[in-house]
Structure formats: structure tokens, C-alpha cells
């Protein structure tokens, strides 16, 4: 079978990639997708640890993370679409109305 280490390394790489995506991309949607990758990395670690401990608490946490992710998506995409309606652009480094 597969040792826990493998899952954790996979999760660490996925988390790093998500963080990189947030830091280097300019499009708000892609940044948000990268955040989802980070959340999935954390969930993966939770489920792997839960398997190791043979306990459900880790899986339950994942359940709540998914619920919250769904709520976040609703609010976040509403914001992104609302901004696009006004200025037809969702690049975060072009948000010039707030500079200084």
C-alpha cells in the first residue's frame, strides 16, 4: 500500500502550486481557482491524516471546508461578475481606482 508520506508530499506540492498561482496570475478568476487548489491540498492532507488515525474528525473537517468553499464561490464569483459588468476587465493589477 501507499505510505502516508506520498499523500503529504502530493498535498504540499499542490498547496505550493496554488499559492504560486495566487501570487503570479493577474486574472481574478484564475487567482480564485488557485485558491481552490490550495483548499484541495489541505483537504487531501486532512483525509490522509484521518486515514492514518482511523478517525472521522479529519473527514468531517473536509466536509466543512467544502461547504465553506461553495459559499465562498457564490460570493466571489458574484463580485467578479459585478466588477466585469462595470469595467469589462477583472485583472487585479489594473484596479487603478485604488492606488497609492
Amino acid at each position: 500500500m501507499i505510505p502516508l508520506t506520498y499523500y503529504l508530499v502530493l498535498s504540499a506540492i499542490l498547496f505550493t502550486m496554488g499559492a504560486l498561482g495566487v501570487l503570479i496570475r493577474r486574472n481574478a478568476l484564475v487567482i480564485f481557482m488557485s485558491v481552490e487548489l490550495m483548499l484541495n491540498a489541505a483537504n487531501l492532507a486532512f483525509v490522509a491524516f484521518a486515514r492514518q488515525y482511523n478517525a472521522f474528525s479529519g473527514q468531517l473537517f473536509v466536509f466543512f471546508v467544502m461547504t465553506v468553499a461553495a459559499a465562498e464561490v457564490a460570493v466571489g464569483l458574484a463580485l467578479i461578475v459585478a466588477i466585469f459588468r462595470v469595467k469589462h476587465n477583472i485583472d487585479v493589477d489594473q484596479m487603478s481606482s485604488l492606488k497609492g
Binding site: 468531517l60 466543512f64 465553506v68 466588477i83 485604488l98 497609492g100
Partner: protein, 489 residues
Amino acid sequence: MTPSDLLSILPLLVLVVWACALLLVDLWLKRKGVTAFLAALGLALTAGLALAQAGEETTAFGGMVALDGFASFLNVLFPLSGLLGIAVAYGYLKRMNIERGEYYSLLLFSTAGMMLMAHAADLVVVFLALEFLSLPLYVLAAFARPRLDSEEAGLKYFLLGAFASAFVIYGIALIYGATGTTSLSGIVAAIEAGSLGTSGLLLTIGAALFLVGFGFKVAAVPFHMWTPDVYHGAPTPVTAFMAVGAKAAGFAALLRVFVTAFPALDADLTPVVWVLAALTMFVGNVVAIAQTNIKRMLAYSSIAHAGYILMAFVAFGNPATRADAVASALFYLVTYALTSYGAWAAVIALEKQDPSAGSGQAASGLEINDFAGLGRRRPALAAAMTVFMLSLTGMPPTLGLVGKFYLFRTVIEAGQVWLAVIGVLTSLISAYYYLRVVVVMYMREGAPETTREPWLDFTWAVSALATVILSFLPMALFAWASAAGVMGF
């Protein structure tokens, strides 16, 4: 579920039910003033119930939430800050043409999230409370839609908030991996059992990621980049609520988690927090000097104050000053909440919609130079603003001095003299930009247009009076904060 479980979180339950009911009732209310009144009534009721809980100590729902002095102290503070959030918003929303009932329901939901945070005794609840208080705030920051600066503030706050949450969750995952549990008491037990071995490192890194995530939430340097933009773009009453409530809730989570679960990690984390606190005080105060916009200046000021509160965590590393560290942080939070609300109320009084720009445009009256002549035009308001600026600097005769004195003394008693020196020096730097506002108000000619609204005037007047009067009688507040210890598990 026993009745005592429900009773222990009664104020929170009342607030949540009230918020849901308000959503429905608002549909039939033509006059949004009634909605505002009902929301304020709910918050006042909640604060009263929380006050009645003082002195109780228990856990409920199988250890998910705790009721102790810490929770009941903050559970009075949060509804009161919500009340002020309504008082400053009532006239503003009307004036800016964004009067909608959702403002009040969302504000109530966010306050409920903050209260849940104060209760949290399990990392699941910490996480859910964090999201519960943040999600309505993202929407509130964008509340002045379709005004672009407000929408962009909402989006920036949202993206940074989601990013920070991801760090918090990954941190919790590592903590769970090290200890096998998410309950704070379970984590304490695992640490004390000493069976962690090298998993202790996993726990430390988990705690560090947790700290990074909440560093974003409380706007500590170097995780502060979003703050000036978001505080600037959001409607000013929301900014005030965010600056006070969200920051206090972030610190509530950090205090709760550090106090109960991580005392064993102090040796590893104290130097990190030391650097964070020093950097935050320094950067916040120095960059604030360069600001010409009052909202941005107050945003950097709020960053700087996050640094002062972080000092308490360094003092926490020394077992001798542990109790004082929590009490001084809570005391400072109250000081900051009162003063900062007053200052934001004064900003709101000067803010106006540009008549030439149409309804979709940003507001004006927010430059520091717009305060010129306020001393002559509105003597009372100018005097109140002077009090707030003195209090934010930490000068007599204001509560800010007492708060800083208590904090610095605790830090020095903990043996961190250099950090206290940095605190004092940065306070001196801050005097420059705070007093500049006072100079502009009294020394420069100008004819600022101000708004007179009963509730707004009430807010700054009460805040100013309380800031001065409490500075002469700080003992009651002091005793209350000292009693608000976090219960051990």
C-alpha cells in the same frame, strides 16, 4: 443536547435568529430606518444577554464551544461595535443612495461570526467562525455597488481573505496531523502527554501557517498589503466596522488558540511574533506619514495598532506575565475600538458625494486637507477629532495613553525591553501624522462642508467623552479585562 448547551451560547443564538428574522421582516418594511432600529435592538439585546453571562465558565456541545470570562468580555464588545456600525451607517447609507435592508442583516451575521469566534474551543469552530464573519464583510465592502472603488475593495478583500483562509486550513491540517485532533483541549492533552516526538515540528509549522493566515486577517506586516486599498474603497461605515470588529475577532482567535493550545510552542513562536510586531508597528507608522487621504492614513494607523496588540503575544511567551498579556491585549482592543470608531465617525461627517460626478462616482471630502477650518466651523467635532488623534498617539488625557502604558509595562515586565522601546519610538513617529490632522483643523483656513446627523453626532460625541472620562477611571475596565481570563481545559 441539553438546555444548558443552548443557554451557554444564548446571546449568539438570539443574534442569529434575530438576523434571520430581520431578513424576512425587512421585505415588508418600506422605511429602512425601522430595519436599522430593529437590528440595533437585536444587538442591544445580545449585548445585554452576554453581559448577564459574565462570570460563568463552562463548555458546551461536546467541547466545541467554551463560555468563559474571555468569551463574555468579547461578546459584549462585538455587539456594541455592531451597534456603532449601525449608528454611523444610518445616515450615510441614505446620503450615498445605498440604503438597503441587507446592510443590517449582513452586519448582524458578521457580528454573530465574531461572537462565535470568541466562543470557539475547537479548530473547526474557529474556521467556521472566521468564514462566517468574513463572508458578509466581503459583501459589505462592496456594498456601494455599482461604485467601482467599492466593488474592487470587496474583490481584493475577498481574494486576500480566501488566500489567508487557505493558509489557516492548511495550518489546521498539519496541527491535526501532529496531534490527531482539532479540539483545543485535545491538542493541549497531546502536547502535555509528550508523545509528539518530531511531530512537534509539524505542530510548530502548522501553528506558524495558522499565524500567517490570521496575520492577513488582522493586517500585520508583511501581510498588510490589502488593508489600505480595502479600507479606502469600502463604504466608510463598513471600514469602521471592519477595522474594529474583524481585527478584534482575528485577535480573539489568536488569543484563544495561543492561550489554550500553544503555550508549549512559545519558545519557537515568540521570536517570530517579536519580529512581526516590530515590523508591523514600524511599517504601519512610517508609511502612514506619507498619506494624504484620511482613510488611507487611518488604514495604516490600524496596521500599526495591530502591531501594538501583537506585542501582547510576545509578553505571553513569559509565564510570569501570561495573565497580564491577555488582559492588556483586551484592554487595548477596547481602547482602539472606541477611539477608532470615533475617528471614522468624524471622517463620515466630512465625506460627501461629489455633486458633479453623479451617483456612480466616488466620494470626496476625504483628504486630510479637507479638514482645514473644521476648528472654526464645527468646534465640537474638531475637539472630538483632536481627542481621537491624541488617543491614537497615546497622549494624555485619553484612554489611548492608559492602554499603551499597560501594554508597554506588561511587555517590559516580560523582559522584552527592546520591543517596548520600539513601541515607544514608533508612537513618537505616529505623533507626527496624527497631530498634523489637528494642526490642519485649527491652523488652516478652510470651509469644510459637514453633515449633521443625530446618530453620527451621537457616535463621535460618546466616543470622545468615553475616551476622556475612562482615562481618569480606567480601573473598572481594567478589572473587567483582568477577570476575562481564558479558562484552562
